[in-house]
Point group: none
Chain length 414, copies 2
Amino acid sequence: MKKNLNAEIVAVGTELLLGQIANTNAQWISETLASIGIDVHHHVVVGDNLRRVEEQFRISGNRADIIIVTGGLGPTDDDLTREAFQQITGMEIIEHEPAMKKIEAFFQKQNTVMTPNNRKQARVFAGSDVIENQTGMASGMSLSYADKMWFFLPGVPREMKQMMADSVVPHLQHISGQETVIKSTMLRFAGIGESTLEHELQDIIRHQMNPTIAPLAQNKGVGIRLTAKAATNEEAAELIGRKKKEIIDRVGRHYYGADDQTLEEKVLALLKQANKSIGAAESLTGGMFTDKLIAVPGASDVCPGGIVCYDTKVKENVLQIPQNIIHQYGTISKECAAAMAENTSSLLDTDIGISFTGVAGPDSVEGYEAGTVYIALHHKSGNLARKFSFSGDRQAIRKRAVRKGFELLFDLLN
Amino acid sequence: MKKNLNAEIVAVGTELLLGQIANTNAQWISETLASIGIDVHHHVVVGDNLRRVEEQFRISGNRADIIIVTGGLGPTDDDLTREAFQQITGMEIIEHEPAMKKIEAFFQKQNTVMTPNNRKQARVFAGSDVIENQTGMASGMSLSYADKMWFFLPGVPREMKQMMADSVVPHLQHISGQETVIKSTMLRFAGIGESTLEHELQDIIRHQMNPTIAPLAQNKGVGIRLTAKAATNEEAAELIGRKKKEIIDRVGRHYYGADDQTLEEKVLALLKQANKSIGAAESLTGGMFTDKLIAVPGASDVCPGGIVCYDTKVKENVLQIPQNIIHQYGTISKECAAAMAENTSSLLDTDIGISFTGVAGPDSVEGYEAGTVYIALHHKSGNLARKFSFSGDRQAIRKRAVRKGFELLFDLLN
């Protein structure tokens, strides 16, 4: 079997270094290469500067087997990719006739005069394989130099993607001998921190081989990415399946789904299974919980609506929270949260009521500092009301409160 | 005058090389550095691999004056940024006591056990300036090595941005006595399309010099980016101020704010000025409108709450929408929207009521296809109920409906 090839993606363009756009080309190419078993070791962005592009090409050519260059093939003076590579290789640059005809035809079709600098877009390295641009003008190229494979693609995402699909991917699949496919899956967890999760799985992670195991903390909560290499998709899937089982046997209580599954979707599914409906009373979260639930298609089966009771008057007049509770305990209390959960479920006629009350900040309220949040659950199999302290700014606190609400529901229904 | 410093941004993280996320940190940092006159010459992404991170640090240290490293400071075994830099420099790594105390306090606050690997996040280079993490746990560092400035920041965007603002930017502004500053501002508009805006300003855009004028269509609506170059901040600010006035004289009716000002913030400010309160009745938007309003600090002055009436029963029982309206016109109708807006304002005792009813999709409802949305406003100076058809998936339709609601309020209050 052939050696495992690694790739580097070099984007040429000052606009990236000015922060005008993000390098989403590199992300897309990386995803594509991973799917055909090619490891990406570096992304680089370099500006439209001949010397720096040249130096970067030297570095990339020394450390990678495959170098995919995006950008710098356009008509303007600051498109320097060809010139920089020529500095290193001395390769001759010629005009590609079919490409030139296409460019001329384009301008005729537009009834506009072709400015001379457009000829540049038909210029290619002698002896390179020219990759036709189906949607734009600049031709792509693939060539081999000093035992390294070089691909030159336009920076325009649409044109780059078309050339990747038509030419680069098939080419790489062919030469990389496809002994290996890479399959990757993300296991998602709720109600457990990254460090605890990693601690629980320490030995499994320490002895990882294939699949590799990478714990990640994301906004979506904690996840573990399993990435397997194998000869076939089936084999890779089996490797992942076995490791997944091993992990879930340990921490399955906190596992809620794989890949793009969200906790809201999981909770919604569990509610449907249990044939239970839910309604929320939201103070500081201001409707975010209900919004996240209703964002999921099919929410109408389990969530008829919710009450946003940010102001005490609404807690009293709409949710009918007894005044004595508010006066005795305040609106930021276990007691108020519990009453909010109970009353919203009766007002909305749902099986489960959930409530959020607390301080989003920046200012403290009723003597409680920002981040103090009570969450209560009301349902016939018993009630729950807990106090939390969340950190971060106003929005982070509100998001964490909502996330925690879904985690409590997940625990309840799971 | 000091020499013009150049910077390189190195992101450490295999998730970037797998294409799981785009390197938006590099974009944001680049924009920030440009604004203080520091040129960025390279972005690099390298995976969680000790040898490769170490090699990249050597390359970056050789070519850049300022190296900003993001990521690899977390608690897990594959967070290797400190270790890689130590390989090169031999610098001692010590535990930063204040940071450690903060981490311990965090776990106490959460009532969860701190696993040992969390200590790692308090480890810093002896002699470095520790940058406090206001929203997370891993400390940042700035240090000087071999005449180069190194900054180590977490990969979590929120934490990275806070450290850039609190420490890195002031530090760099101080040491780079930059003689040209680039100042950029984004003018934001509501209720006008990109092409119309461009048409209205055609001559101004055609004759742009300094500042440059770039119209942009974003999720946040239509914007115009003005970018001025000058010797001093004051000069740049004046150039921008003059051009801004010229633009607003033309299309000021649609202008709602600059830079990070959101339409929700503007609407909230206008409500406060007018001393008016608002409450929403939300069907398909499921609380998103109220959530966006309450996300803004100070919302309590104008928004006591809202009603999410996704299900018809809630429209009838909580909002008291007359059955005959629902039977005669259906819930997706001008009439129902108008009643929802009126009843929510009386139920919540607000000056203004706004309502959203329609089809988020994917399926059509009551014979109306996804994207059909009615939005109504109820207030003493008159009512309004309009039909819209929004395109996109379920979430896009819901977001566009909410955005439109804020635009209608902006028109009403402006």
